[in-house]
Amino acid sequence: MGHTVTLTVNGTSYTREIEPTLLLVELLRETLSLTGTHVGCDTSQCGACTVLVDGRATKACTMLAVQADGATVITVEGLAKNSEMHPIQRAFAKEHALQCGFCTPGLMITAVDFLERNASPSDAEIRHAIEGNLCRCTGYHNIVNAIRSASAEMRQTAGVRPKVAAEVNR
């Protein structure tokens, strides 16, 4: 039986008729063609599919699309504003925090959720925050550097740049 769901993705409202078996990540990638969100494992382990659901980093392979009815979703495509990259995106480029790039969208989304709530994290806190995101290339070192570097820029522009991961209570 089809269900009609309406959700906001990166500021645009979408209404679609879907089956309950459809995962949120499948809705994003296959129905809405937002392929920036990746599927690494489809078993909740790797974090490549991480998106913000109502302001919280969520593994989109472990949520039904019907559960996102009414939700506000931000994917990696929603990080840049007016073609200006988000500080986390610039920091990943600057610090060479990616090689193949497969894990990058999920890691950046997790980092944004984390940094908007912890403006001055220690390296240990950064490593704890990205426990749910696996990278098979970089060895994590430059990813931690990038998140630390983004935190510095985000502190400077706090209040000017609207929050990406603001909590949405429904």
Partner: protein, 289 residues
């Protein structure tokens, strides 16, 4: 990918959810979905109907009752529990256990009701539920029922909850007197689940010695349990390092410890005593602070 078809609904009241759950023998409630959806992907769970609790706002709150009982709605996420100021102040072992679940994303979706209902032997929150002597309030077609945590965990994925019951809330009595509590976990390096997790609650006498102790252990056996031998050994002592070590050494007494690739049963029993010692030590330090 989920291939087995099912129907889906998200009722807005607990009464409706109970009614829908009773309609078919093959229906299941879904909360955070972080245990159920992985099982459905593997085909290990194939419910015909899913009843989503997400619209039942009353299940999402944390509140304190007049007698001090802290009531945590079943839908409260691990993340919200870990960050809640009342839980952190009054039930630090629960805040620590919730904060140690999986990873940031898992904590954002997974719920205490789901964790308690699912009863994975390596789940974190059962340990503080036992140590604080929490009560699981379930609602079913015959009405409401309170189950003490010590009567609730029966075995691997096996509990005192009936198939037609829904957990509405988990009720934690406020620890009385001069007390302190803490949770210590030895996490599986890959899955993050507890190979061993120990929650300890101690209450002090006027002279600073131990009046009573309650210790909940997860990860080590088929079901989370109260380490009663260790509790008895600790009560009445002066609570110094020697007394704590002697009591902690009994925390795995009499259990049939799990054995797997991550830890043999002997190693697990050893880990329980080490993590019990750490948890008790921090609990006593907190009680004396």
């Amino acid at each position: 990918m989920i291939t087995h078809p099912f129907t889906y609904q998200a009722p807005s009241t607990l009464e409706e959810a109970v009614e829908e759950l009773g309609r078919s023998g093959d229906s299941k409630v879904i909360a955070g979905g972080h245990s159920l959806l992985p099982l459905m992907k593997l085909g290990l769970a194939q419910p015909e109907a899913l009843i989503d609790l997400r619209r039942i706002a009353s299940l999402r709150a944390i509140r304190t009752e007049s007698d001090g009982t802290i009531v945590i709605g079943a839908l409260t996420t691990h993340r919200d529990i870990a960050h809640d100021p009342i839980v952190r102040a009054k039930l630090p072992a629960l805040a620590e256990a919730a904060g140690a679940v999986g990873d940031l994303q898992v904590r954002a979706r997974g719920t205490i009701g789901g964790s308690i209902a699912h009863a994975d032997p390596a789940a974190d929150e059962p340990a503080p539920a036992l140590a604080y002597d929490a009560t699981i309030r379930a609602v079913g077609p015959k009405g409401r029922r309170d189950i003490r945590a010590s009567d609730y965990f029966k075995g691997t994925f096996e509990t005192a909850l009936a198939d037609d019951e829904i957990i509405a809330e988990v009720r934690f009595p406020a620890p009385a007197g001069r007390s302190g509590s803490a949770y210590e976990k030895f996490a599986h390096p890959a899955s993050g689940f507890a190979i061993t997790g120990v929650a300890a609650l101690v209450t002090l006498k006027a002279d600073g010695g131990i009046e009573r102790a309650a210790i909940g252990v997860t990860g080590a056996a088929a079901a989370a349990y109260r380490a009663t031998a260790a509790e008895k050994a600790l009560a009445g002592t002066n609570g110094d390092a020697k007394a704590i070590a002697a009591a902690a050494a009994k925390a795995s007494d009499g259990i049939a410890a799990l054995s797997d690739l991550a830890a043999s049963s002997d190693y697990r029993k050893h880990l329980v005593t080490v993590f019990a010692k750490r948890a008790i030590l921090r609990a006593v330090t907190r009680a004396r602070a």
